[in-house]
Each structure stands twice: as structure tokens, then as C-alpha cells.
């Protein structure tokens, strides 16, 4: 099963509309919540008047920030502590689930109206008057530190001023460099746009004092932990969080949101189920956004093309508050990766994280690694151009070639073969034939360019001892339980939670191979804190590397116990028993038991007539095992991508005409699912490069708050992707897997931008919209005219 393109068992229900999402759930006596959101980017709340609205038909309750204070409901948290270079802790503003004194972005939560129907809730919401004192908004990332302080006590709107690397050594490398290459980059802000908008339903049972929250979450256990421990809504043992089918997240559904907290709290308060379903525009306004960096970088290079140092200064926009993973994304998930695949002896990275009056920014597909890859791959291209070297040769000259490799910043890379995937990509893309294709395009009046991008990511997030030592508020292990039922089929419980990744298929493939049980007899149970063991959820391409490894470990324990039982039943020594293809065998004999027989025996022990108990003394009945897996290291997927674009110089319209990638994800469990993940990642990455942009105007209004203005790429924006692999298995987990979920989104933005810049011969920023490319070409022509 492992390594084969098994069709996804979950697809039938999804394709035929039988998925069960949070919004599909309707509970008896359910009420409907509608959130009143701030129309201003920054304002003081003088008064919220709900008197008139309370009398409107169908209104059950209206709750405001004052009620949050009264009920001592805690604020939303940032779960990763970053320490500034001067030794002080990061600074965070309070983040109440309903704003009390101040609103900090358009879409911030001010009050919730709960009514018998959604229409009645909306009607009543129109009667709520909020008296705001509007203040000047801080919007721009680069200017945030020079603007008015948004929060008392947070000077210059600075959350932290953090650094990584050896500054003195890096300065020295620059003082000795033959050439210094500089680049200024903007990593544009993106809206995650999960197909399923967020939703949550709170349901309180006063008889059992049990609170249930149904929500669109990538990690229900973490949601329960945070809402119990920090928001203080309900104790963990009386609180169940269920995330049924989840329709995409890309990171945006990792975090418990204000709506989750409010709906859970309100359900308990009013004693009725409260349901909230986000509408698309609210989703644009209030889902956590991604990226939003401004970076100035320098590369020290020798005449022969060896890179000797890298210096990076980044300003990262956190938005209006510090979201759950917001502080680790532009620091530990970013800076260690700026070295790319290159053997760079010294580097220094300074990150200043700023607050602005925009939606909170947090981890989004790739989280930090796309920003790092964009920076190193853009500056490598720039350097090759300035040195007059072939861009492919320049990269190869600087690749790490020996493994394990301790990088100068943080990571110790266990395995890889960078020349292998780069050379394969050059062939797949037919680099040799590029000049001919460029000439053909020119004959049609089009400008053709080729772009390269190589990347490394740290996935399988990961070793608790490491992440907690650098500020994580939780460990990042994963759990699994493999439970045989008496009839021989298996329920597998995982702490990971699929939101489109196909875990039910991939994880069943692993169990099927390990235990020799057909896939149809294996069911995956996830997304419910009352069912499975505590787990850390799905993000950071970790589910297989960490969660799959926990399942593997649990299977090993099952086999171990099975051997004891089989030995007893077969009157042999446990050490001699071999397990293969679902059978326990005494070698060189015809004595064997299937794993199904063993499972049955484990559940029906005891003497029965002539038959003596199958269980040896001291062995407990039942056949189920739990395992927690905490890896020894991150895993390091890497790869090489090459694309070609055609630009219409009349209109600036840019089309990606070919896209080739060769990725090293270690071992592949299901190559079809992997290919799907690569496709999705590429779509989002090419989307970032050419189309997508969350655009706030200077007053902090989100101009791109619907699909009329936010350019979601569509299928016809992409060529047929050419996808191949190389394989160096990971050594940090028993499956040898590295993670594939984010790679496409990490590698493709610089790949496309390098191709665009190659085509037009001048710089342009993301997204390279047709107008921007047209203007860049026009400016270039004008300045060339001036020079001539």
C-alpha cells in the first residue's frame, strides 16, 4: 500500500455533497449569532447602545465587551514568546473576544446579536448604535514604527526587535566581499480563502454541565486547551470540541478565534445552542491573513561566485493583535530558512514585528518559509545577474553537498541531494531549449523569461525540546491510538486533523501495510476531543512526519503484544515469532495465527471448556495501543522549480506557460495525494506572485474584501504542471517522510517573479499584475531613452 496511488476514500462523500461540515449541523433549539464588527480601522468605543435592538423581534440576547469584562472571559493569546535582542519580552496588546475600549481593525468584533433567526439577528444589529471616536489608522508596514502609537505602552508599535545569527562575523564577511548585492522586497499580504468559511456552534447541557463547541478547526484539542485555560470559558474535562469535516484552512483555521470563544460562552450563558456561520466578506475581513513583510537584504559574494555572507533586515506586520502563531512565523519559522540550499558560512537576520490597524497576520501555507525562500531566491538571481553568471550555475556553485549539514544559523539538515533535483529540473524544463522558445515568443511579439527557485523548508514541526526552548507555549509531538475491534477491524485515532489532506487514506495505507489488514477494514477517527487522545493538529506539513510516525509506533506496540499472545497460543517462544503480512508465524513450522485471530482472542480471554485462555499470565486483555511521537529533529524537504512566463508588452499581461518542479519529500506514501498537494501549493504561490493581494487603503479599509476585487487565481491561470521527485529519506522519523503540503506555495513565488524579471529586464513587485508589469516596462523604456 505504501507508495501506491490509492484513490482517496474521502472523495466520494465530498464530491457527492455528503461531507458534514460545521454549517451542516443543526441542533434542537438553536439560535443564530451575528457579529457587529468595527467599520473603522482604529477608534475608541465611547458607547454601545443596545436598548432599542434588545426589543427587536426574535432577539434572544446581545452581548458586548462589557459582558466579557463582567464574566471575566480572558483574551485571545499569542502562544509563542519572542525575546527582543535587548533581552526584553515581546509586547502584546490585550485582545478581548469582544472589543471593550478600542477597536483595532476593520472587522474587529464589537458585539454579538443572538436571535431566533439569522435575519432577525441582522435586523436587530442594524438597531445597535456604536459611538466611536475615530482615530488615525496605522496601516503601512514600512511606516508603522514612525506612526502614532496604537497602544499605550507599546512604543513605536513594536512587538519585538529580534535577531538571529552572528552580526560581527557577518559584518566582517561583508567587509571582505568582492561584491555586495542588495535587494529590497515586499512580500505581499494574502487572504487564505479556505473554500469553507469559518463557523462555530456552542451547545451547553446544563444537566451534565457539558459544553460542546463545533468548529472549523485544524486542531480541536488546542482550541479546547486555549478556550479553557486562557479564555476561561469552561473546564477542559467538561468541554468537548468537535471539528467535523473541514473544508480547507491553509493555517487560517489553526487558531481559536473570537467567534469561537464568544459562541461557546454565549451558549453557556443563554442555555441554548448558538450557531454562527461566517459570510465571505467577513471572512476576508477577519480570518488571519498571511505574509506582509518588507525586507532589505544584502549578499556578500566572491569574484568566483561563492557566497560568503547574508544580512537581512525585515519588518513583519502582525496586524492589530498578536495572533496565536503570529510571533513565531516571522522569526523561528523564517530566519533559520533564509540560507536556502546554500552553504553560506555566516548570516544575520533582524526582524522587527509591528502592529498596525489591519487584520491579524498569522501562519499561512508555508508560514515564514515562503518569505525566506522569496528573499534568498530573489537575491541569488540578482547576484548572478550582477556577476554576469548563469543563474543555474551560480546556484549549483553554492549548494550544500555533504549531509548531515549544520547550517550557520539553526538547522542541522539530515539528508538531501540538491544537485540531483536541480539537474533533474533543468532537464524536465528543457533549460537547453530556452533560447529557441524565447525566439519563438519574440516572433509573436511576446517577451519570454525563465525563472529558477530552489527551496528548503523545516517541516514536521516538531521536536518539543527544541520548540519549547525557543518560546513555544506547547510541545509539538503527536499522538495516536490504534484500536483493534473484536471482529478484527481497526479504528485509528490521531491527534492530527485533516482539512483536505486525505489523512483517512494515507494513514490507513500505513496501518494496512504495518498490520496486514485491508484498507477497507481501517477507519480513521479524528477531529473530536472526546474520542481521540490529545493531539496537536495539522499544520507545518507535520501530520505524516509526526502523526504518521505516532501511528507507526502504536502499530509496533500492537505487533509486540500480538507476538506474546501468538507465542502463548502457538506454544512457542515470543522471541521466535515472526510477523509478516498480517500473520504471526513460528518459523520452520506450519504454526501461525492471523492478526484477526489474535485480536479476537485478546477480547475473549479466559478458559472456555477445553480451550485454555489465549492470554499468557500478566498480559492484559484487549488489543489497543497508544503512542506519542516526538521527533528528534525537523524534516527538511527541498526541491527545484523552474518556470517560464510570457509577457505581452502592450498590456503587461503575464502568463505562466510552463512550470516544472522536482521535489524531494523523502518517501512518498501516496504519490497521487502528494501531487494534489503540490498542485494546490503552486496555485497559491503563483497566485501570490501574479494575482493575490490584500489591499488596505490609507484609512485602513480593506479594498479587496470580495472576489470582485481580490484576484483568486482560477484553473485557466495555470499551465499543466510537470511534477517529478527525487528521494533522500528523512532520518528523523521511522517513515522517512519529509512533508509536502507547503512546498508548492514556498517555491513558486520567487520562481515566477524571477521569470517575470528575466522577461522584462527590470524589477517589479508582487503581485506582478498586468498594470505593474506594463508600468515597469514603460519606465524602463523611458529611462533607456534618457540614457540614450
Amino acid at each position: 500500500m505504501i507508495g501506491s496511488k490509492v484513490e482517496r476514500t474521502e472523495d466520494k462523500k465530498f464530491i457527492t455533497g455528503k461531507g458534514r461540515y460545521t454549517a451542516d449541523i443543526t441542533l434542537h433549539g438553536q439560535s443564530y449569532a451575528f457579529f457587529i464588527r468595527s467599520p473603522h480601522a482604529r477608534a475608541k468605543i465611547k458607547k454601545v447602545d443596545i436598548a432599542k435592538a434588545l426589543k427587536a423581534p426574535g432577539v434572544v440576547s446581545i452581548l458586548t465587551g462589557e459582558d466579557i469584562v463582567k464574566d471575566k472571559i480572558g483574551g485571545l493569546i499569542a502562544g509563542w514568546k519572542i525575546v527582543s535582542k535587548d533581552g526584553t519580552d515581546m509586547k502584546l496588546p490585550a485582545h478581548p473576544p469582544l472589543a471593550h475600549e478600542q477597536v483595532n481593525y476593520v472587522g474587529d468584533h464589537v458585539a454579538v446579536v443572538i436571535a431566533e433567526s439569522l435575519e432577525e439577528a441582522k435586523n436587530a444589529a442594524e438597531l445597535v448604535t456604536v459611538d466611536y471616536k475615530v482615530l488615525k489608522a496605522v496601516v503601512n508596514t514600512a511606516d508603522a514604527m514612525n506612526s502614532e502609537n496604537i497602544y499605550d505602552g507599546i512604543d513605536k508599535n513594536l512587538c519585538f526587535d529580534w535577531e538571529l545569527g552572528d552580526k560581527a562575523k557577518t559584518d566582517e564577511a561583508f567587509s571582505k566581499a568582492d561584491q555586495i548585492v542588495e535587494i529590497k522586497l515586499t512580500n505581499n499580504r494574502l487572504v487564505p480563502n479556505a473554500m469553507e468559511p469559518r463557523a462555530s456552534i456552542g451547545d451547553y447541557n446544563s444537566s451534565s454541565d457539558q459544553l460542546t463547541l463545533y468548529t472549523t478547526s485544524q486542531n480541536p484539542h488546542l482550541t479546547r486547551l486555549v478556550i479553557s485555560a486562557f479564555n476561561g470559558v469552561h473546564p477542559e474535562h467538561k468541554f468537548r470540541v468537535v471539528a467535523p469535516d473541514v473544508g480547507g484552512g491553509f493555517g487560517s483555521k489553526i487558531y481559536p478565534y473570537a467567534e469561537d470563544v464568544v459562541v461557546a460562552w454565549a451558549a453557556k450563558k443563554i442555555g441554548r445552542p448558538v450557531k454562527w456561520v461566517c459570510e465571505r466578506t467577513d471572512s476576508f475581513l477577519s480570518d488571519c491573513h498571511g505574509r506582509d513583510h518588507v525586507t532589505h537584504a544584502k549578499l556578500a559574494v566572491q569574484k568566483d561566485g561563492k557566497v560568503t555572507g547574508l544580512h537581512v533586515d525585515t519588518i513583519a506586520n502582525l496586524g492589530g493583535y498578536g495572533s496565536l502563531f503570529a510571533t513565531v512565523t516571522p522569526t523561528y519559522l523564517y530566519a533559520p530558512l533564509i540560507l536556502g540550499l546554500y552553504d553560506i558560512p555566516t548570516a544575520y537576520c533582524n526582524v522587527k514585528a509591528v502592529f498596525t490597524n489591519t487584520a491579524p497576520v498569522d501562519a499561512y501555507r508555508g508560514a515564514g518559509r515562503p518569505e525566506a525562500t522569496y528573499l534568498i531566491e530573489r537575491i541569488m538571481d540578482q547576484a548572478a545577474r550582477e556577476l554576469g553568471m548563469d543563474r543555474a550555475e551560480f546556484r549549483k556553485k553554492n549548494f550544500i553537498t555533504k549531509f548531515p549539514h549544520q547550517q550557520c544559523l539553526v538547522h542541522n539538515i539530515d539528508s538531501g541531494d540538491y544537485n540531483a533535483h536541480f539537474n533533474k529540473a533543468l532537464e524536465l524544463a528543457d533549460y537547453k531549449g530556452f533560447a529557441k522558445r524565447k525566439a519563438e515568443s519574440a516572433a509573436k511579439g511576446k517577451l519570454r523569461g525563465i525563472g529558477f527557485s530552489t527551496y528548503i523548508e523545516a517541516c514536521g514541526i516538531a521536536p518539543s525540546s527544541v520548540v519549547m526552548s525557543i518560546g513555544a507555549g506547547v510541545g509539538l509531538w503527536e499522538s495516536a491510538e490504534v484500536r483493534f475491534n473484536a471482529t478484527g477491524n481497526i479504528s485509528v485515532f490521531t491527534g492530527a486533523h485533516s482539512h483536505g489532506q486525505g489523512h483517512a487514506t494515507t494513514f490507513a495505507q500505513i496501518v494496512s501495510d504495518k498490520l496486514g489488514v485491508p484498507m477497507e477494514n481501517i477507519d480513521l477517527v479524528h477531529g473530536d476531543t472526546d474520542k481521540g487522545p490529545f493531539g496537536m493538529g495539522t499544520y507545518g506539513s507535520r501530520s505524516l512526519a509526526v502523526g504518521g510516525s505516532a501511528i507507526t509506533k502504536a502499530c509496533d506496540k500492537i505487533i509486540e503484544k500480538g507476538k506474546k499472545v501468538a507465542a502463548h497460543m502457538l506454544e512457542a517462544n515470543p522471541d521466535e515469532i515472526e510477523f509478516k503480512d498480517g500473520e504471526f508465524i513460528v518459523p520452520n513450522s506450519n504454526k501461525k495465527k492471523t492478526i484477526g485471530e489474535i485480536a479476537f482472542a485478546c477480547y475473549l480471554p479466559g478458559t472456555y471448556g477445553e480451550i485454555k485462555s489465549p492470554l499468557p499470565e500478566g498480559v492484559e486483555p484487549g488489543l489497543k495501543e497508544t503512542a506519542f511521537y516526538d521527533p528528534i529533529n525537523f524534516s527538511f524537504p527541498a526541491g527545484s522549480h523552474i518556470c517560464e512566463v510570457e509577457v505581452d508588452p502592450d498590456t503587461g499581461e503575464t502568463k505562466v506557460v510552463t512550470y516544472s518542479c522536482v521535489d524531494d519529500f523523502g518517501n512518498l506514501i501516496n504519490p497521487m495525494i502528494v501531487e494534489g498537494q503540490v498542485h494546490g501549493g503552486l496555485a497559491q504561490g503563483i497566485g501570490q506572485a501574479l494575482y493575490e493581494n490584500a489591499h488596505y487603503d490609507e484609512t485602513g479599509q480593506l479594498v479587496t474584501a470580495s472576489y470582485m476585487d481580490y484576484t483568486m487565481p482560477r484553473a485557466d491561470n495555470f499551465p499543466e504542471f510537470r511534477i517529478e521527485y527525487t528521494c533522500t529519506p528523512a532520518t528523523s522519523n521511522p517513515l522517512g517522510v519529509k512533508g509536502c503540503g507547503e512546498a508548492g506555495a514556498i517555491a513558486s513565488p520567487p520562481c515566477v517573479m524571477n521569470a517575470v524579471i528575466d522577461a522584462i529586464g527590470t524589477d517589479v513587485s508582487m503581485p506582478a499584475t498586468s498594470e505593474k508589469v506594463w508600468s515597469a516596462l514603460k519606465n524602463k523604456t523611458n529611462s533607456e531613452k534618457k540614457v540614450a
Binding site: 466578506t281 498590456t651 494575482y691 489591499h695 470582485m708 476585487d709 481580490y710 484576484t711 498594470e771
Partner: protein, 262 residues
């Protein structure tokens, strides 16, 4: 969406009789329903006109193509007769929105709405259309008044649009990357009486570019448009395209439209 009374009219007469100061006709609903759901529009009475037989169908004569107001974009796109008589018109319909929109959205709804970025209004101006309503016939020149504003009076129902068949024509659309409405759309039609160049997406309302018409009347070729300067003062400017960029798109799109005329 706020509650409203739903009526389904079976004749033009019944529809106009139901109309009041707080009512609206519902055709494909592709614009009206989203704006009601977003609470930008509320009506007491919604009068569905899709079941009115007289509002459906396509009639082609030697001089004109008459299309019922409730005819869906997909039907215009797939009509063999329209494809033969005015290929640019069926091609325009085939590029509106996506398959779902084309299978619900209608000609009447589109021109009544008069979105500044919609496609059909440019066809009306380029093809000398006459808008037939429950009360009268209106020349296209006098129909499109301003942004989302038409010559229709309260309760007046569009019944059909009569397009004049040109010698040759083409609609070139440069789509807005996000919405895929026209960021600039140029409809060029060569009639015996002269060339029409209608432009949508570029200003607050569809208009005819008289400088281009003049140049093309003298010499119907793309090169005749070289050097034509486009006044940017009235052009739309937004996050997708500045006025200068739109001006350049108007020129390049007009040239392509002329080149593709058939």
C-alpha cells in the same frame, strides 16, 4: 435578505400591473439576489419575469437580431443563428462570467442594471440597438444614462433588444483579473452607415469613442488608430488599473478588435 413578497408574472401586462414604487423585476437574479443578500437592496415585492413567454426567444431577419429580455447569456452564446448573423454578439455572451452565471443571467437584466463594466451595453451602442419596453422603443444612445442608471421609468419592463446586423464586428474584452467583468471592453462594428466603437469598463458608463470612429471611417484598419490620443480625465482609476493604464488598454484593445473583425 429581508423578507419580501414573491410574484411570478405570466405576461408583460401582469408584471407591469404588479409593479409599485417598492418593487423590482427579477430576471436571472445574478445581480439582484446578491445585493439583496448583502442588504444593499430591499423590496416589498419581487416580480419574477422569467416565466413571461414574450420575453424569451431570438428572431433573426436580414437586418436585425431581436433577443427577448429574459433570454439567458448561454442561449445567445449557443444560438447558431446569432453566431451566423452577428458572431461578435454570441462570442460576447459566451465570455460573460462563468457557466453558472451564463445559465441564469439574462440580456434584459444586464442592460437594466447597466453596470459600467458589463459587456452587453457596449453591444447595444455598437450595434445601434433599439430597446423594446412595455411602453416604448428606446434607442441605445439614449438608454444608458450614467453609472447603474438607464432611461427606464419606474415599473417599465424591457421586453426585447433589437440589434442591427453590421458588415463586420468584434468585441475585445480585457477582463478585470478578479471579477472578470470588462476592465476595458471595446466593441467595434462596421455598418454601411459608418463605424461604431463602443467602450465599456473604462468610464462611469458605456460610451462611443468618436475619434476612433472617425479614423476608422477613413481607413478601417488597426494602423489607423496609431497615435490616437485618449483623454484620461473621464477614465476610471482603481486598484486594478489607473486611468493611464486604461487608456493604453483602450488603444491596444481597439486595435485587436479591428484586427479580429469579421
Amino acid at each position: 435578505m429581508k423578507a419580501f413578497n414573491y410574484h411570478s408574472a405570466s405576461s408583460v401586462k401582469e408584471a407591469t400591473k404588479l409593479a409599485s414604487s417598492n418593487s423590482a423585476y427579477l430576471s436571472g437574479g445574478m445581480t439582484m439576489i446578491p445585493s439583496m443578500k448583502m442588504r444593499l437592496a430591499n423590496y416589498k415585492d419581487v416580480i419574477d419575469v422569467k416565466k413571461i413567454k414574450d420575453l424569451h426567444g431570438i428572431k433573426v431577419t436580414s437586418k436585425s437580431v431581436v433577443i427577448g429580455a429574459a433570454t439567458k447569456h448561454a442561449d445567445v452564446a449557443n444560438s447558431k443563428e446569432v453566431q451566423k448573423a452577428i458572431p461578435s454578439l454570441s462570442s460576447l455572451a459566451s465570455r460573460i462570467g462563468d457557466a453558472q452565471v451564463r445559465n441564469r443571467g439574462t440580456l434584459g437584466g444586464s442592460i437594466a442594471n447597466n453596470d459600467p463594466t458589463a459587456c452587453y451595453p457596449s453591444a447595444c451602442l455598437a450595434l445601434n440597438a433599439i430597446i423594446h419596453t412595455s411602453d416604448r422603443k428606446i434607442e441605445a444612445e439614449k438608454f444608458f444614462k450614467g453609472m447603474f442608471e438607464t432611461a427606464l421609468k419606474k415599473g417599465e419592463l424591457i421586453t426585447a433588444v433589437e440589434f442591427q446586423i453590421p458588415e463586420k464586428s468584434h468585441y475585445f474584452k480585457f477582463p478585470n483579473p478578479a471579477s472578470r467583468y470588462a476592465m476595458v471592453g471595446v466593441y467595434v462594428a462596421k455598418h454601411k452607415s459608418g463605424v461604431h466603437v463602443a467602450i465599456t469598463g473604462a468610464q462611469s458608463v458605456v460610451y462611443r469613442e468618436k475619434n476612433m470612429e472617425k479614423a476608422l471611417n477613413d481607413n478601417f484598419s488597426a494602423s489607423a488608430l496609431n497615435g490616437i490620443s485618449i483623454d484620461t480625465s473621464e477614465l476610471n482609476s482603481d486598484i486594478h488599473a489607473s486611468a493611464e493604464y486604461r487608456a493604453s488598454l483602450i488603444l491596444s484593445s481597439a486595435k485587436k478588435a479591428v484586427e479580429h473583425c469579421k
